[in-house]
């Protein structure tokens, strides 16, 4: 599906009013390869909803779940809030970086994985926890991380 199609589908589904902007952006992001809201789509939304482009861009960059930069097919978000910190989230960051061979904020060369921080995802009972796309993985350690990455790689290829 091309981008124009994705954008108009999202607007049809969520509603053609200004207050639905965030819902529309989330919808586009979930349907776009690379887990992001491409800059060109912002222009299309701006025209369809009759909102200034600057405003659409403002909303798309204000909310942490929305990204205007291309991410991995699996966007790995590591919680860096206090409860996960107490349970060792900084070690988890190192392990992910090592296993994937990329740094925080980067995407693997094959476009499969990206690493970023997130604020509390409400999985503090499973700390340290990460969110990969819509799914939460908790009580992480090195073995578990290796296992998760391997199974996602298998499922994705």
């Amino acid at each position: 599906m091309n981008l124009q199609q994705i954008v108009s589908d999202a607007i049809d589904k969520k509603g053609n009013t200004k207050d639905k902007l965030i819902e529309i952006l989330l919808e586009i992001q979930s349907r776009t390869e690379g887990n992001y809201v491409p800059t060109e789509s912002l222009k299309m939304i701006s025209e369809s909803l009759d909102i200034p482009l600057s405003k659409v861009y403002g909303v798309a960059t204000f909310y942490s779940m929305l990204s205007v930069k291309k991410r991995g097919k699996y966007a790995i978000q590591i919680c860096n809030s206090a409860p996960c910190y107490i349970s060792g989230s900084s070690d988890i960051v190192k392990i992910f970086e090592e296993v994937l061979g990329i740094k925080m904020g980067e995407v693997t060369q094959d476009g499969m994985f990206s690493l970023e921080y997130t604020s509390c995802i409400g999985a503090c009972n499973l700390a340290p926890a990460v969110k990969i796309n819509d799914k939460v993985y908790g009580n992480l350690d090195r073995n578990k991380i290796i296992e998760i990455i391997a199974s996602l790689r298998k499922g994705g290829e």
Binding site: Y63, S119, C124
Partner: protein, 430 residues
């Protein structure tokens, strides 16, 4: 532990209206619609002494009264399901366990204040809970509990589900309202408060998930019976979320009046690996850090207030001796630096500079002047920030500088007792 508000969670299929009715669901709604005037409902809630469970502990009945007194054809009820306070995951239990109970609370609130439309604003990090809510609303529409002339009465009410997209500040009610309107979630100037001018400028009631889940229970058992739970100043129960270095992390419903010691050692089984408790952070990242010698405090709004503690969302983070206070506060401050919406200067710049200074101290480059600066900046933020985020952001910093002053001072001398901070010449021994 008690089972009052969360008594149905896990005991029924969350989407079975049959199960819910079987267990007494919608009885309170029926009672309200057919036997009570809106003013009676508000009186009953006021009598119950219910205080908001989202963090600010504002008397719920009074808030309802403010909205009901406004003259307007259009009013809104918003359920704040944007629990973003780090360490808080109690609303999720209610959202996933019994969405009908929350919606019943919203319906009763709508009837009491004269609103016909409600929104549930749920954080984007809970996609499954959101799907569940959408299904729950669809089912209730089909069953005649939502829509026009509910249960053939004159009362009509509809609910729309809206998603957040990862912004802590949207838990603040005016930022939440901005977000529903499709704007970046930046707090508004107050007054006017939402009960006067809220969503699209109309009178708006914003209540937390847990607060709304209390409503059907109060009306079912009556305010007097409800007040038998808890203490004189704090009626009812509270859902607390315990996390950190504790054996049993999780959400527990407790009666007000329980001590922190009972929560940590009796309910949660103490600290992992028998570590020593360093401090508790109460109410999430925006809450106070209190040392181990204050464990006998009772969970009670008045008793907490005497010690300048807010119960907040009911999050309790257990921190052990292996943690460096300075590093912990640095992480907390980085959170606020990231989550500040940037609208007001004290919060935007204050958090930025606090992080800078704490980094300096953690690297062993701090000076006595830095500690004075931290106090000064915190003071300005508390006094002058536009919303609760900026006002509460330095709370943990201020309280740790009070209770763990010597640890900050040690860092100035290049010593970190937890061995966490890496100084130029490595970690120094005493």
């Amino acid at each position: 532990m008690v089972n009052l508000i969360s008594r149905l969670c896990g005991k029924l299929d969350p989407l079975s209206i049959y199960d819910y009715r079987e267990k007494g669901g919608f009885k309170s709604l029926e009672k309200v619609l057919f036997k009570m005037k809106p003013i009676d409902v508000i009186d009953e809630i006021k009598k119950s002494n219910l205080k908001g469970r989202g963090g600010a502990a504002f008397p719920t009945g009074l808030k309802w009264q403010f909205v009901s007194m406004e003259e307007s054809d259009e009013k809104y009820v918003i359920c704040n399901a944007d629990e973003g306070e780090p360490g808080t995951f109690k609303d999720k239990i209610l959202l996933d366990g019994c969405p009908f109970q929350i919606i019943e609370g919203m319906l009763i609130a709508g009837y009491a204040v004269g609103a016909k439309k409600g929104f549930i604003y749920i954080r984007g990090e809970y996609p499954k809970s959101k799907e569940l809510l959408i299904e729950a609303v669809d089912i209730l529409k089909k069953e005649g509990y939502l829509g026009d002339n509910i249960l053939s009465s004159d009362f009509s009410f509809d609910i729309e589900i809206r998603s957040g997209a990862g912004a802590y500040v949207c838990g603040e009610e005016t930022a939440l309202i901005e977000s529903i309107e499709g704007e970046p979630g930046r707090s508004r100037f107050k007054p006017p408060y939402p009960p006067n001018k809220g969503l699209w400028g109309k009178p708006t009631l914003v209540n937390n998930v847990e607060t709304l889940a209390n409503i059907p229970v109060i009306l079912e058992i009556g305010a007097e019976n409800y007040k038998k739970y808890g203490t004189e100043s704090s009626s009812g129960t509270k859902l607390i979320s315990v996390s950190g270095s504790v054996v049993n992390k999780g959400v527990y419903e407790v009666e007000f009046g329980i001590t922190l010691r009972e929560i940590i050692y009796d309910i949660c089984g103490g600290l992992i690996e028998d570590r020593k408790l360093k401090f508790l952070q109460i109410g999430g990242s925006s809450g106070v850090c209190i040392p181990a010698d204050m464990l006998d405090l009772r969970l009670d709004f008045d008793e907490f207030r005497k010690h300048d503690i807010g119960l907040g969302s009911g999050a309790i983070l257990v921190v052990d001796e292996n943690t460096c206070v300075v590093d912990f506060i640095k992480v907390t401050s980085e959170f606020f630096e990231h989550e500040s919406c940037g609208k007001c200067t004290p919060c935007r710049e204050g958090n930025y500079h606090i992080v800078r200074i704490l980094k300096r101290i953690a690297e062993g480059k701090g000076s006595k002047r830095d500690l004075d600066l931290l106090k000064n900046i915190s003071d300005v933020m508390q006094q002058c920030s536009l919303c609760g985020l900026g006002q509460a952001a330095p709370t943990a910093l201020i309280t740790t500088m009070k209770y763990f002053k010597e640890e900050y001072e040690e860092h100035l001398k290049g010593y970190c007792r937890a061995g966490k901070c890496t100084f130029k010449g490595g970690v120094l021994d005493e």
